[in-house]
């Protein structure tokens, strides 16, 4: 079990309200329920990840993830189920983290679990070299001009 960075929040359940409300709400408070200026980092995110701090497969901030509709969603715990719910349409790792108000690494761990189990699949971001493709840039430029 990993030592949390900060003191253990005595009523860890109190942090659960991040889940009871609308995960899509526009509350963009950095860190949200997971940070407390006095107490430091709350312990709960690492409880969700079962103490793990390293995802089982490589995911980037912008890896795109989508649910495969494979497997039995009833067998998932709450946090994995919530993460999977957000992946009904292609979604980035960063978006899942933000909407669940979880630190990035915890979202990666949850999503990596889902990918390992076959419940989700991911597209890693392209290597930097591809970003100089003029055809790609032209598509982006035309897209922006249409907005």
């Amino acid at each position: 079990m990993i030592e949390p960075d900060g003191p253990v929040w005595p009523g860890a359940a109190a942090a659960g309200d991040a889940h009871s409300g609308d995960a899509h709400s526009g509350d963009a408070q950095p860190g949200g329920a997971w940070l407390d200026e006095q107490a430091g980092r709350l312990v709960r995110p690492y409880v969700i990840s079962n103490g793990r701090t390293v995802p089982t497969c490589e995911l980037d901030l912008l890896s795109m993830v989508i649910a495969t509709n494979e497997g039995d969603p009833d067998r998932l715990d709450l946090e994995h189920a919530q993460a999977l719910d957000l992946c009904g349409a292609p979604t980035s790792v960063a978006e899942v983290a933000a909407r669940l108000r979880l630190p990035l690494v915890i979202a990666k761990i949850l999503l990596a679990d889902l990918i390992d189990s076959g419940a989700a699949t991911a597209r890693p971001p392209e290597p930097a070299a591809d970003l100089t493709d003029p055809a790609l840039l032209e598509v982006v430029l035309n897209g922006l001009r249409r907005l």
Binding site: L62, M64, T68, N69, A94, A98, V105, A119, T121, P134
Partner: protein, 205 residues
């Protein structure tokens, strides 16, 4: 038209082809604290801006990597981001870099693979964007400078700004109102035009 120029997606599973997932491109919006990065991201994004936070490990100044754990410190950076869907195959993500937290410069995951960057500048406090300009120059990340037109700010000649920021002749300087979606999108389009020009100079066809 969806962009289909890439062969990607190793992890096809469960009948969903991961190649069907859109390509996510990353743009950075940098600049000093209070210069309007969050406003900019919010006005161009198609979703309510989201926020995420990551713990980064930064080697302390004056130590080298051989020092190991003792020479490292961790810090948490929070950043706002928004999304623009270009077509079914391409999604742009705009990340507003944390303004007060110098450690974001150490966050390779944020800057690696960035398509380009916008340095948002307030002409009343140009020095606030020195760090960002310096960072993108050193990392070779293509950027432009967008002068956020605050109501009370004196309008400077872009060339005066170029001199003040010691920008090369090729770095575009555009005017921008971070509160205005069209203006923000125009700045993004100017950045992509600049990227395209840079690519074409490097490899004339």
């Amino acid at each position: 038209m969806a962009y289909e120029g890439f062969e990607a997606g190793e992890r096809a599973a469960g009948g969903v082809d991961s190649r069907a997932l859109p390509l996510a491109l990353k743009l950075l919006v940098a600049g000093g604290f209070g210069v309007g990065k969050t406003t900019f991201v919010g006005s161009v994004s198609e979703i309510e801006p989201l926020s995420t936070e990551a713990v980064i490990t930064a080697a302390s100044v004056g130590t080298d990597s051989l020092d190991g754990v003792a020479g490292k410190s961790t810090t948490t950076v929070a950043l706002d981001f928004g999304r623009i869907t270009i077509d079914p195959g391409i999604v742009l993500y705009l990340f507003g870099t944390p303004g007060q937290e110098r450690f974001w410069f150490m966050w390779n995951e944020l800057s690696d693979g960035a398509l380009g960057a916008i340095v948002l500048a307030d002409t009343r406090r140009l020095e606030a964007c020195f760090d960002a300009v310096d960072f993108f120059e050193r990392r070779g990340i293509v950027f432009l400078v967008a002068l956020n037109e605050f109501d009370e700010a004196v309008r400077y000649d872009p060339e005066e700004v170029r001199v003040a920021l010691e920008l090369g002749p090729d770095v575009p300087i555009v005017a921008c109102d971070a509160r205005d979606r069209r203006s923000g999108i125009a700045a993004l389009a100017a950045l992509v035009e600049h990227l395209l020009a840079a690519v074409q100079i490097r490899s004339p066809s």
